[in-house]
């Protein structure tokens, strides 16, 4: 199961036949394992990994990391407030953190103004939010295990090995 998952994570376009060959399982076994992972929500969907640096440069989007301190609610803890935040489509990631602040939000907007507006009007005004600190992202080097740099070339030369 884990091996199939890792193969798909690396290349979601591998066919069940290829995966079956590579893992020495039957095609039916592989198909069933994939179906089970889809059913159980282990695999959510198959998408393309995009070099966001290139796309953002064209679309001129800006990203910001926002640190939020909150007052946890009785019974709900941080979850209810987190849900109110992650429902905004501008919010790309949301983590509950240990340390100096509570929630880390990564948001995307078209302009600096967009982001500033979203933080001051939408996030800062939420019940339970004590403070926000906004950091704009200047450049992304690596994200979700993907390095956003061009030029991966096979440099191996002919040699007597």
């Amino acid at each position: 199961m884990q091996e199939i998952l890792e193969l798909l994570q690396n290349d979601a376009r591998l066919t069940a036949e290829d995966i079956a060959t590579m893992t020495k399982k039957s095609v039916a076994e592989v198909q069933e394992a994939i179906a089970a992972m889809e059913r159980d929500g282990v695999i959510l969907k198959y998408t393309a990994i995009v070099n966001q640096e290139k796309v953002r440069a064209e679309k001129e989007t800006v990203r910001a990391v926002i640190e939020i301190q909150v007052t946890p609610e009785r019974e709900h803890g941080f979850d209810a407030l987190a849900e109110r935040i992650y429902r905004f489509p501008q919010v790309k990631s949301l983590h509950l953190m240990s340390g100096g602040y509570d929630l880390q939000v990564i948001i995307e907007g078209k302009t600096l103004k967009d982001v500033a507006f979203f933080v001051s009007e939408k996030l800062a005004t939420l019940n339970g939010v004590k403070s926000t600190k906004t950091h704009f992202v200047l450049k992304t080097y690596k994200e979700n295990d993907i390095v956003y740099v061009d030029g991966k070339k096979d440099r191996r030369e002919g040699v007597t090995a």
């Binding site: 060959t21 191996r156 030369e157 040699v159 007597t160």
Partner: protein
Amino acid sequence: MLKTPPSPIRKFFDLIIGRDDIISLGVGEPDFPTPWVMREEAYYHLEQGHTSYTSNWGLTELREGIARYLAKFDLDYDPKKEILVTIGVSEAIDAVLRAILNPGDEVIVCEPCYVSYQPLVELCDTKLVRLDTMPTGFIPTAAAIERLITPKTKAIMFCSPSNPTGRMIPADELAKIAEVVKKHQIWVLSDEVYCELVYDGHKHVSIGSFPGMKDYSIILNGFSKAFAMTGWRIGYFACPADLMSEVHKLHQYSTICAPIMSQYAALEGLRSGADEVERMRLSYQQRRNLMIHAFKEMGLPVNEPEGAFYVFPDIRKTGLSSEAFATKLINEYKVAVVPGNAFGSGAEGFIRCCYATEIGKLKEALRRIKLMVEGKPYDGA
């Protein structure tokens, strides 16, 4: 030296230099860069100005690390007197052969084998005795070895898992070979550089681990393959202290020591590289399965290699010699493989394909080989 031919692999690689349109299954080299923890360790030591020679033996911590590593295979060597760090396994083979051989000695080399064995043996003015392992599925057997032993036999050499066939000598056969070696009191040079790259739950067994075998064994190993460190040129060997003190002299006069940055990087690999090695191993296993499946579908017989990163299919049914096959494949179908005859006797009619190449390229290369086997023209540019 004039009698020694250049490596036959070289000829094929000269054809592909600078050609992006050719997919190479030729070079026996990982397609992964050295794991970052190891590269970073070398940076650190460069930064600190650790750029000196090391002891001729290699760094003490590295030899201690190697001793602990060898213990995994039930090998017990004293890092102070029985382990020497060398410039790749290649230097180790050369130095050991020069130390143990006298003119007129005979050395049994199990073929097909890595291209350096035969010339290095012959450069010692000794008689190369070829053991063709093709009839036994490319696995040398104790019986076949014993038939070639004469009073002049000084040593036997093999590599398991093997370059170029990927086959591993099973433990029960190794046990029998060990008995032959002890009976005739000859050295065994055991090249174990692929010992980490074994598949389907196979376990590497070292001939040096059998009872009483330490006195006859020279265990050769290195970091190039499993740790993806080919360009660092770092290997080692282990043998009894008496012999070691002789080989040590050769090593000290010819190379002084292995590069210090490579030694630090290798040490870090032993400390914290196991997960990365396993990740690479699994990836090779998956690609091996893809290769075997494809060759079987083409109708080319192929042994299932237990280790290394090569498959060695039998191309005789195409009616071509291995050299003609490889030449046609590279010229017309733009795929480079190494013809079997490069590796010695018994390998004519076979080709070596290294599958340490990205899956997309592997599949395309296999598709092109299939076109050629089916007599169809190449459909690409």
